[in-house]
């Protein structure tokens, strides 16, 4: 069939099928829509969201841990590091995403840099406070037993700081899951995207409730998991 012949015809417009009454009239919750679109919309968004959060907390933890160790050893470093984290934390999340866009584009990198910045303050503070919270006499006892500084750190001080560190990881994870919904303004990933589409497409209630509900459930589930992890890591406490 030559291109010319194709051009000469009017198109056939097939019947695309109407949406269910629930969908076209925008009832509060259409279970049918959720079932139909779980695998093409909701599940991918959920998995992307988990991935974004995990990477952010992991990198944030590594950076915050290193910074806390430095500040633990050199007390003077606490002020500048704390100030920097606080500064980043005060920038409104959407603004921080957009400020990074000229530098790192509309990419996952932009989102991750911003998410990591928000975890830094919480994790840094909690790790540092956890280490500082080790009683002086415990440290002295460890030293008295002949442990070197490093051995004391690894075998005594860090384990005692675990509750505070885990509290920090818990808060950082839940916050990151929350803020990651805003990533949808920059990249089409995460649970924020179905919510954003739901709002801009004539406020489609089902999509908003489904994706929003998933985001809240994810945050609560992560919180619960981390509580259990914290308890498992500190068997000597009845936390």
């Amino acid at each position: 069939m030559s291109a010319f012949a194709v051009l000469a015809q009017q198109p056939v417009i097939p019947d695309f099928g109407t949406g269910s009454k629930c969908e076209t009239e925008n009832h509060t919750f259409c279970a049918g829509w959720v079932a139909d679109h779980w695998s093409d919309t909701l599940q991918p968004a959920l998995l992307q969201h988990i991935k974004l959060a995990v990477i952010a907390v992991a990198i944030g933890f590594v950076l915050a841990f290193a910074a806390a160790l430095v500040a633990y050893r050199y007390r003077r470093a606490d002020q500048p590091i704390g100030l920097l984290s606080d500064f980043l934390y005060t920038i409104p999340s959407l603004a921080l995403f957009q400020l990074l866009v000229p530098l790192t584009g509309l990419t996952v990198t932009t989102v991750e840099v911003a998410l990591v910045s928000y975890t830094l303050l919480i994790l840094y503070r909690n790790i540092l406070e956890g280490l500082k919270g080790v009683p002086a006499d415990v440290r002295e006892a460890a030293r008295g037993m002949g442990l070197s500084r490093l051995q004391s750190l690894v075998r005594v001080e860090l384990p005692l700081a675990v509750p505070s560190i885990m509290a920090g990881v818990r808060i950082a994870t839940v916050s990151t899951i929350s803020i990651a919904t805003i990533a949808a303004f920059v990249i089409p990933e995460g649970l924020g995207r179905p919510i954003y589409i739901g709002i801009t497409q004539d406020i489609f209630k089902t999509e908003i409730i489904a994706a929003g509900g998933l985001a809240i459930l994810l945050a609560l589930a992560a919180d619960a998991l981390l509580v259990m992890l914290g308890r498992a890591l500190t068997p000597w406490r009845n936390a």
Partner: protein, 225 residues
């Protein structure tokens, strides 16, 4: 390295953003005022609801479970989700965004007020009771001043969070600087970055003012914190 980071966009957007700010003072002023109106109203209502409740509960030493749960729940509620849910409740644009912002602002204020008051050294409280001070006097003359740093820290967290979320509220008709930041098609990247700079400055300003307030209010005594 720079190539990897900036292969699509460039540092040049920042001077463009400054240019946008200089070229559109009226627009940015109007949006900033709108933004502060929405945020301010939300912070005010959140304070009215959460502060007395947190202080009273902390003073009585009751409801720590509530305080902790509210705090956890508040953190688990993504701001975008709240804005979206609020839209489902009401389509009157000031009302629904206020609702969302107040819900987000209450947890930090409540929790910090509670733990601030409750965490005052019991010995001091006991000593005061021994001296014959009434419960109300203890609250206002001892517990409240000592808890002030933590209370103001909570207000600061809530304020910054509300200002940040008010930015997103633009997609639900909330107005403010978010109107520019979410509308890249109209205002271009320079406009979006410019408005982002402005809203960041506002957040810093408010945070700074609150920290300053705390310092001024507590300079005459050493706090328990």
């Amino acid at each position: 390295m720079i190539r990897v980071l900036a292969d699509t966009f460039s540092w040049g957007t920042f001077p463009d953003a400054i240019r946008f700010i200089i070229d559109h003072p009226g627009l940015l002023w109007h949006k900033s005022v709108q933004h502060l109106e929405l945020s301010g109203a939300a912070i005010g209502i959140a304070l009215l609801l959460a502060l007395p409740l947190g202080i009273v509960l902390g003073h009585l030493g009751r409801g720590s479970f509530v305080a902790i749960s509210v705090s956890n729940l508040g953190r688990a509620l993504p701001s975008l989700v709240l804005i979206a849910f609020a839209l489902l409740v009401s389509q009157h644009f000031f009302v629904n965004n206020m609702l969302a912002l107040v819900v987000l602002g209450v947890p930090p204020i409540l929790t910090n007020a509670y733990f601030g008051i409750e965490g005052v050294d019991r010995n001091i409280v006991e000593a005061a009771r021994g001296m014959g001070m009434s419960g109300r006097d203890i609250l206002w003359r001892i517990e409240f001043p000592l808890a002030l740093p933590l209370i103001i820290a909570g207000i600061r967290i809530a304020a910054v969070f509300i200002i940040a979320t008010a930015t997103i509220a633009a997609i639900a008709g909330g107005g403010g600087l978010g109107d520019i930041i979410v509308n890249q098609a109209t205002y271009r990247l320079a406009g979006v970055v410019g408005a982002s700079l402005v809203v960041s400055l506002i957040a810093f300003g408010v945070a700074f003012l609150l920290t300053l307030t705390r310092k001024l209010l507590t300079r005459s005594y050493v706090s328990a914190d």
